[in-house]
């Protein structure tokens, strides 16, 4: 019955292809553009390349409480890690998503039991509530936060919330499912063109400060 829904067909067909192209293509183009620009204008990036310090600078920030400023705000750090891990794990290891991958390509990732993904989703939603409240409550964060920052946080959580509601059939299943797909696609499309690009750019900026502070001076940038 649901399968006949043309809206669904279009969203998981051509629109999904377009989405993936923009998401991956956008990231590739952004990196290529920045690479070319850096070759012209940022010799300081290449003059002091230091693999060890670059790696240390990245790894210390990929480990919870691995840097002084993370230790300074331990609860926030914990929530940020939970947020990022669930953000990646839920869509990648959800059984229903993997079935779609399998149907399309005959390939899929390992799937977690639904009940675990469900729990992780709740945790993810809770972490977003925390991040949202933190933005409002802490003076130094509120003053930096613009409407777009709140919007992006909402857009990040939207696919998860709609997916959760659809899965539990809390409300009109079909509409929520359609919304879930649309929100997911919007999020993927936005990533390369917004601050969410940090999913890739983080590695470059962190490496640079590792070269600059560590490679040139021996100072620990974490």
């Amino acid at each position: 019955m649901f399968k006949q829904n043309t809206m669904y067909e279009i969203l998981t067909g051509p629109v999904l292809w377009i989405t993936f192209s923009i998401f991956l293509g956008g990231l590739v183009v952004r990196i290529a553009f920045l690479y070319r620009l850096s070759r012209k204008k940022d010799p300081v990036f290449y003059n002091h390349v230091n693999f060890t310090w670059g790696l240390k600078s990245i790894l210390h920030w990929l480990v919870p409480w691995g840097s002084a400023s993370m230790r300074n705000q331990p609860v926030f750090t914990f929530v940020v890690f939970v947020f990022h891990l669930t953000l990646l794990a839920v869509p990648l290891f959800l059984g229903a998503h993997n079935m779609l991958w399998d149907e399309a390509f005959g390939l899929s990732l390992w799937s977690m039991p639904d009940v675990i993904v469900d729990a992780l989703t709740v945790i993810m939603l809770a972490s977003v509530v925390f991040l949202f409240i933190r933005r409002i409550v802490r003076d130094e964060v509120r003053i930096l936060t613009g409407a777009w920052d709140y919007t992006l946080l909402c857009l990040t959580v939207a696919p998860f919330l709609s997916g959760f509601l659809a899965y539990h059939q809390l409300g009109p299943y079909e509409s929520f499912m359609i919304l879930h797909i649309i929100f997911g696609e919007i999020l993927l499309i936005i990533i390369p063109f917004s601050k969410l690009g940090h999913m890739i750019l983080f590695f470059f900026t962190r490496a640079f400060i590792g070269f600059e502070m560590g490679g040139r001076r021996g100072a620990r940038s974490w």
């Binding site: 010799p43 840097s67 002084a68 926030f76």
Partner: protein, 440 residues
């Protein structure tokens, strides 16, 4: 922040009211590389940088003093407006770029993305400078650099006279202490801060005594001897490049092995790290090895070229001020800590320290901006005063002129009962006088 509105009104009173937007755009274009674009676009407004900033911490955690706020409201905004800013905006930038940030770079280490905020504030200074909005005193010092090659405008003859005079001064207590000028092929070309010949000439004679004791081959150059770089802090990057080039060129001309820098933090940052970029030398490395005084003293003590009289070690509690540009931005914090046990019995480190130390509040050009800004400087130095107080130290060893003056000011302001000492003073007072320079 301390109220400095009247000071600012005076500062901007006679400035030109017409902005040259094209000049701003040129600076924006020149800097519009991958780093700046990425930094400006990925800051996630997490606020972690706030607590890394001593200005924020010292001024009751005013959220407008967080590093992210500061770059967003200077360079960030200028890029957003594509350079079409007005005078009032740039005057606000002035306040942020010169009074609320000393370019200490502590925040870049505490940012999850390692965004180098100091670099962006420095570009904001360049933009303000291009429109004549810059600290008057730094502009005057820069003018001196343009005319005489040093920020005090000291003529060559006067420098040589001072050197002769200082060499003579040592004759009462020592023999054979010389201050050679322009001696070719020496190991070290010793570069100094123009404040030394003017305000602390004894710093030069102390250096000469230490060199003589260590039987060092050294010289003071007659030009290119100013290792500081106030144009760099004034936002005049072209002139800043010239200052650096003066030193590099003179070193090559004299055929010295290394350039030695007096106890000055900014000079080390300028010549060893930013210099090659300011002076447009390819490869990012200075054409001659740059050595800071802290490293020299460490080597002398380690190699036994200078020996300390155990009787004369400092008995009072001592702490060490890590100058931002010697420690975090210079990498010499461990050398400093290895020097201390030679010269002091009761060492008490500040917290945080080493590469994570806080700026004293006198860096980034705010000290030479003059007495008008002292109130702001004292307010921002509160964290440093508290750090010193917590150690209970009576002596603060500060191998940087800005730290030195700021700590003495802070001691008075916050009644710390502590006094700053330079390494040279301590070494000359406590070393065993070797026979070859001993008068007795």
């Amino acid at each position: 922040m301390a109220d400095i509105q009247t000071v600012l009104e005076k500062e901007f009173k006679n400035a030109d009211f017409l902005l040259d937007i094209q000049k701003i755009r040129n600076i924006l274009d020149a800097n519009n590389g991958a780093r700046i674009r990425t930094w400006l676009s990925i800051c996630s407004r997490c606020g972690l940088c706030a607590e890394s900033c001593f200005v924020y911490l010292s001024n009751d955690q005013d959220p407008k003093l967080s590093p992210a706020y500061k770059f967003k409201h200077t360079l960030g905004q200028i890029y957003r407006l594509k350079g079409k800013v007005d005078r009032t905006f740039l005057e606000k930038c002035y306040e942020i770029a010169w009074l609320q940030c000393t370019l200490c770079k502590r925040c870049s280490m505490d940012c999850p993305f390692g965004i180098d905020i100091a670099t962006m504030i420095a570009i904001s200074r360049n933009i303000c400078h291009s429109q004549g909005i810059r600290p008057k005193s730094l502009a005057e010092f820069s003018e001196n650099c343009r005319k005489a090659g040093n920020h005090m405008g000291i003529p060559v003859e006067e420098l040589i006279d001072t050197c002769d005079w200082m060499a003579e001064e040592t004759e009462d207590e020592f023999r054979g202490v010389e201050i050679p000028v322009d001696k070719p092929n020496a190991t070290f070309m010793y570069t100094i801060n123009p404040r030394e010949p003017v305000y602390y000439p004894q710093d030069i004679s102390n250096a000469a005594i230490i060199f003589a004791a260590a039987q060092e081959s050294w010289t003071i150059p007659s030009f290119g001897w100013d290792c500081t770089n106030l144009p760099m802090f004034a936002g005049d990057s072209k002139l800043a490049g010239q200052q650096v080039r003066n030193v590099y060129k003179k070193a090559k001309e004299l055929g010295v092995e290394k350039v030695l820098i007096t106890e000055c933090g900014h000079a080390y940052r300028s010549l060893a790290f930013e210099g090659p970029y300011l002076a447009e030398y390819a490869g990012g490395k200075p054409p001659v090895e740059i050595v800071h005084y802290v490293k020299l003293i460490y080597d002398y003590l380690k190699q036994g070229r200078i020996k300390i009289d155990p009787q004369k070690k400092i008995k009072e509690p001592v702490t060490y001020q890590d100058p931002c540009n010697v420690s975090r931005n210079g990498g010499l914090w461990e050398e400093a800590r290895k020097i201390i046990p030679y010269i002091a019995e009761d060492f008490r480190d500040m917290a945080p320290n080493r590469d994570r130390n806080h700026c004293c509040g006198g860096g980034g050009g705010v000290m030479p901006m003059g007495p008008d800004y002292k109130a702001a400087r004292m307010a921002s130095g509160r964290i440093k005063a508290e750090q010193i107080k917590a150690t209970g130290a009576k002596i603060v060893i500060a191998p940087c002129h800005n730290c030195f003056d700021q700590i003495n000011d802070l001691s008075e302001e916050y009644e710390l009962g502590a006094k700053a000492l330079s390494l040279k003073e301590v070494i000359v007072e406590s070393m065993l006088i070797p026979d070859h320079i001993s008068k007795y």
